[in-house]
Amino acid sequence: MTVVGTNARRYEGPDKVCGRAKYIDDHDFPGCLFGVTVRSSVAHGRIRRIDFDPKFPWSECVVATARDVPHNSVLLIEQDQPLLVDEIVRHAMEPIALIAHPRREKAYEALRHVHVEYEELKPALTLSQALGTEALIFAPDNVFKRFLIEKGDVEAGLRSSHFIVEGEYRVGHQEQAYIENNGMAAWWDNGGVSVMGSMQCPYYVHKAIKHMFGLPDEKVRVIQTATGGGFGGKEEYPNMIGGHAAVLARKAGRPVKIIYDRGEDMAATTKRHPAVVRHCTGLSRDGKLLTQDIEVIMDGGAYVTLSPVVLSRATLHAAGSYECPNVRVRSQVVATNTPPNGAFRGFGAPQTLFAVELHWEKIAQATGIDSLTLRRRNAFREGSITATGQHLRQSVGALETLECCVKRGGYERKRKEYERFNRDPKKKCWKGIGLALVHHGAGFTGSGEAHLASRAAISLTRQGEIKVLAASTEIGQGTNTLFAQIVADTLGVPYDWVAVEAADTGRVPNSGPTVASRTCMIVGGLLQQAAHLFKKEVVEARGSFPKTRKDMHLAAVSLCNGQPEKRFETQYQTPAHVHWDDKTYRGDAYGVYSYATVVADLEIDKTTFEVRVRKITTAQDIGKAINPLLAEGQIAGGTAQGVGYALYENVVMKGGVMANAQLTNYIIPTSLDTPPMDVVIIERPYSEGPFGAKGVGELPMDAPGPAIAAAIYQAAGLLISELPILPEKIAQAKSHDQADG
């Protein structure tokens, strides 16, 4: 009996639909205090003094400042970000002090009795201010990181081009908007600390807390609770809030819980990096790409956090899923006095893929060749060489996804039909259909997976229970279910024989962070290997693999040999075919890529300029769907976030802080804003993935933005090159258009 490829029942599904799944705020800790954060009100300044209003009963509270943190930095790539500001404030909403009180409302009341006095410094709030000389945030030039990719000779390519097309594309911040806000609890005993909460990466928090307090491995335990969505927003920020809870708990000598409210979560935590992307593209007379010269600038916010890695992925995806003999990508991520930007599904790629995909519409305009034909001529196929010189030998479903969507979405027919429709001035709306084709590298970039050296294990308990041990978290995407499916099939046992251990650093090995579309492909692959080890050893010991639970129990008793469990652990090894050079940025940037096409069908109201997406058709090559229902769920969910990115989600920054930090005025799509979707999964197996699987988590986020912008271009005749495309933006562009025309 096989369970891979079927819609096995979601492992923790019953608990979730019964309201029994325990999220961090659902946990009670005896004697727990409630923690809140004093945050900066200025974008850049020097703290002169912190006043605690003597009228407030401070004896009821525990207060912590920078002096209470042994090593005051949040360890990630760099150590530039303090846990609590000691002297210089570098962005608004930066944590300065912490207050804990037994009652939640009293803790919030205490916040109003703290006054911080600053010597204000001139801030650099925008990219141009940061690249000028307004303020120095990061020495020597406010640039956190630069990358350069070069293939062939871009200038020579330009000289031989028949068409040269330039374009500039912009995208703003995007808020992850998981429905459960960030929250963590911490308590100390026996000189060690336990931290529990909503997170994607328990071992990131583990490492950061060890560093903060100078503790050895075994004195820090990090436990993930049920997590109400992450999307990258709970990749690195839990290091901060977990650190805060631990500092307060240490000082209080009692457990402390910190749960953000929506306003604090939105204004203070990370967002998708805004970006400006410039393209200069040269093509032959028949529309073959000859040269791509691309410049990327991203806004990193005030601290390094994950910006270099986000920039890396942005850079590596900037040339799109097309073969071009001459490519240059120059990129940089810049420091500004705004809250640090960070991980968000897609991790840099949605920004640069928006640019390269919408640019096809501009190229189509310039060359007279439609963008579908241009894509067909240039898209990756097996044998193509990427911008980094990677030879795509297998599992390249780009054109298959394209043709599938074009057919199912009625793209060519509707394109013509809408052209006729839009010529009729009596119609109340314009109609448009647009498409985009994207690729997304699965797993960490380049040598990232080799550096992580992730470990995962299967445990056989003496009672004969089979348990998956991995730190990869269930955050809604179905980690538990996929892991159980992969292990069950590899062992040849029923799905319900396999249990999944909680993501608790006290119990599971470090299988790496739950990011980068790596959970199924990389960690699932490790578990498949561990299952093979397990099976081999059992078969060697007994002659055959147990077929009943009773036999499994007997096998377990002998294999465990008096111990409570026997573990089968594997560690990541880079596949032999993957070679990457970090210095030159050449080689196999990712082991493999997933591919997706989106066709967006929409209409625009001629009076209000509201865009209504009527239908999304998408085909996505993910190698193998271990669980098609979960895979479709990832695709539909990522697509909806892409629709939000394209049309609704507008972070308004005023004075370096989010002015619309509420779900009332930061608009994420509702069920009415999200169109019905026709989702097709295409399976071009990858030899190194478990059962052929590649990544799916981030891919769906990449294509809706440019597909919707292209559809708006057909509908309204306006190539709007900046997301989100709000009705106001269309109205404004229309009035300019008419004034010019």
């Binding site: 599904g13 979730k16 639909v17 539909a636 969910g637 990522g638």
Partner: protein
Amino acid sequence: MIKLTVNGKKRAFCGPPFKRLIDVLREDFRLTGAKEGCGEGECGACAVLVEGQAVNSCLIPVCQMDGRKIETIEALGTVQKLHPLQEAFIEEGGAQCGICTPGMLMTACAWLRSHRAPKHSLRAHGARPLLKYGRGTYRSPQDIRRVLAGNLCRCTGYQPIVNSVVRAMKRHRTPK
């Protein structure tokens, strides 16, 4: 003292009268199924039923609940005996991270009851159709989208949720 019925049980609350219903449910009655997502009635994660109608419990002071009947996710079904909607949410992938699920289910439940379609199954769970929504005719997926528009979900893209409600309706439509 405020007296109310929660999931069929008579309860009394003696704290501050303006305490939000969600806090009373979660803190005083230890019913943590309703979640706080925004605290201002936008996301619907805290939706519970008051006299059969789905409301955002973060917007309601408990003093308004005197004498009212409240139902929360805890009373819908159990892991051993799932409500048809809960079963459908698992089968169709309507729950991913699960944080919006209790509110989503309560809203869907109120709507289904008000249409009498799955009468017998909901009756079996102690429910009475108290309020009507719309005109009581056949529901299309678009109707479901309209009903759930006050419940935000960031994971699913809603399609699996719509499919879940459709499945629950189909399975439990009573023959005329």
